[in-house]
């Protein structure tokens, strides 16, 4: 899907958090301090550039810090692969296998309106 000249402004309308681009490990101060045992790696893999799925631009880049926490949980290697399971099921599996996942994640998934599946569910 080519963008014509007059659509170019709309194309660039969204602003990314990192103007410099690339992967950086800076933590914005609004992010909550994650508990020690969560062992998250703080990688930026959870901030994808505009996803192109099914031929259209995925501009739903507006996600909050709760989704950010859940994405860090998804990315954590210790709890196993995140695809093919809902986040809550993965959390419960981690609990059953004795990995002590942070209870914050469970609270978020059960009480608040968040995505129940990981980012790539249905896309890969």
């Amino acid at each position: 899907m080519a963008t014509t000249a007059k659509n170019l402004k709309g194309f660039y309308k969204q602003t990314k958090r990192n103007i410099t681009g690339g992967i950086s490990k800076s933590k914005p101060s609004s992010r909550k301090v994650t508990p020690k045992h969560a062992a998250t790696q703080g990688s930026d893999a959870t901030q994808p550039a505009a996803l192109i799925s099914h031929g259209s631009l995925d501009l739903n880049d507006a996600y909050d810090k709760e989704e950010e926490m859940l994405r860090q949980f998804d990315m954590n290697m210790a709890y196993g692969p995140c695809l093919g399971m809902t986040r809550l099921d993965r959390w419960e599996r981690a609990l059953r296998l004795g990995m002590n996942p942070p209870s914050e994640i469970e609270r978020l998934l059960k009480t608040e309106k968040v995505q129940q599946d990981c980012l790539w569910q249905g896309r890969v």
Partner: protein
């Protein structure tokens, strides 16, 4: 003076025993398929086995650090734990169809896919590393086994293995040593009713023996000591020529159903007298992927009403008088035979016990359900009797573990070919064969 007529006081009573059904872990009714792939079951397997192996590492090599594959440093001696992957040149690959040199691939596939160039790779969630050295023989191991390795990374980027630690035999619950009398569990498999090689008279002889209709008082006395019968797979064989992909004509439908009807009649006779378990096998009308689910009770309208009749999963686990039995219909061992080698089938059986996993090649080369949170094939408690059905010949071995475990390993031969059933004595775990022949020589 004993009278010659049948005396009602002399009617033999069958011995009684307690039975516990332990197949819940192999049932998949509660599982829901959400589009997951096999990475989940491999993760569960690795996590559970790794926790176990980490607990053994301090006693095995006390001074060595344990690290992940990504944490390997050149020259640093350490222990790594991961899942083995065997790269096999001859393993059939779905992409072979598309390869340009089609004329090179032979039309006849070998039965065993081993090759001298096979090599092993260790993988965990952080990465994989090629394994070198001669401590780990690719001929013995298969993909899916979780082991701990002691060694160091070489400059070539390989991990040179110096020593291997397998999980070893799991802990065993002490078996009761106070059984006063001989009680037998009869194991048979490969009835293949409906195939050209099965002899209905042979099976009828077996059924008559079990139900005490055969022989003199001594024979009947022996039969009364049988407390349980297990049929380990491949009980029927459907005529393959009917499976053309077309709808079956009604006369073909009734021919299709004949073997099951005959099996039901025989099971009815057995179930009327003794508790019987039937497990599905490769050729039975059950699902293909392990763990195979119990054969539907609607297939056995005559036998299903009996509470002595039980349709079980494959693999099957149960207790009789607190003696733990674990067994399969043979697919796990047959698959090991295709991808590794051993001097006898019992070596494969012993290896699965030492690796604490019933079917390590699942899901790689053996069909398996994609579990997400557990691996039901992990053997947590050592059985007292471990049987494998549908083998070519009868064999058994008494395995002694390092912590006093005692397991009887049994290869049950195909009944349609050999006419042999195996009886295991619960008192001392000894087993012997009962063979039936209908040749008139």
């Amino acid at each position: 003076m004993e009278s010659m007529e049948i005396d009602s006081d002399k009617v033999q009573q069958r011995k009684q025993s307690n039975y516990s059904y332990l197949d819940e872990r192999f049932e998949i009714q509660k599982e829901m398929y959400r589009g997951q792939q096999y990475s989940q079951i491999y993760f569960a397997r690795l996590h559970l086995m790794r926790t176990l192996l980490y607990s053994f590492a301090p006693t095995w090599k006390p001074h060595l650090p344990v690290c992940k594959v990504l944490g390997l440093e050149e020259g640093k001696e350490c222990i790594i734990v991961g899942t083995l992957f065997k790269h096999m040149k001859l393993k059939p690959c779905v992409l072979d169809e598309y390869s340009k040199e089609r004329s090179v691939t032979p039309l006849v596939k070998p039965h065993n896919f081993m090759h001298p160039d096979d090599n092993l790779i260790l993988e965990d969630e952080s990465g994989r590393v090629k394994l070198g050295g001669s401590a780990l023989s690719p001929a013995i191991y298969v993909t899916g086994v979780v082991v701990a390795l002691h060694g160091k990374e070489t400059s070539a980027g390989e991990f040179f293995v110096e020593d291997v630690l397998e999980a070893g035999l799991p802990p065993q619950i002490e078996r009761p040593l106070d059984l006063q009398e001989d009680k037998y569990v009869l194991l048979l498999s490969g009835l293949c009713i409906g195939s050209t090689s099965s002899n209905p008279l042979q099976f009828q002889l077996l059924v008559d023996h079990i139900t005490g209709h055969l022989g003199d008082d001594e024979e009947i006395g022996l039969a009364s000591q049988i407390v349980h019968v297990v049929i380990a797979g491949n009980s029927v064989e459907f005529p393959r020529k009917l499976f053309t992909g077309q709808n079956l004509a009604s006369k073909d439908q009734s021919t299709l159903y004949e073997p099951i009807k005959e099996l039901d009649i025989m099971l009815n006779q057995i179930a009327a007298g003794v508790s019987v378990d039937i497990m599905p096998g490769l050729n039975d009308p059950a699902n293909f992927a392990l763990p195979q689910q119990p054969l539907n009770r609607c297939l056995f309208p005559g036998s299903a009403p009996y509470n002595t009749f039980r349709s079980c999963t494959n693999p099957h686990s149960f207790d009789v008088d607190n003696i733990r039995f674990l067994g399969t219909s043979g697919q796990n061992i047959d698959d090991l035979e295709k991808y590794s080698e051993a001097e006898s089938k019992l070596d494969f059986v012993e290896r699965t016990l030492r690796w604490r996993h019933l079917a390590p090649t699942a899901p790689n080369t053996l069909g398996c359900y994609p579990f997400t949170d557990r691996d039901p094939f992990l053997i947590e408690t050592c059985p007292h009797v471990y049987f494998v059905g549908n083998q070519d010949k009868y064999d058994n071995r008494l395995l002694k573990g390092s912590e006093g475990q005692l397991v009887r390993l049994i290869c049950i031969p195909k009944f349609c070919e050999t006419g042999i059933a195996v009886a295991v004595n619960l008192r001392n775990l000894e087993c012997h064969t009962i063979s039936f022949s209908t040749q008139i020589s």
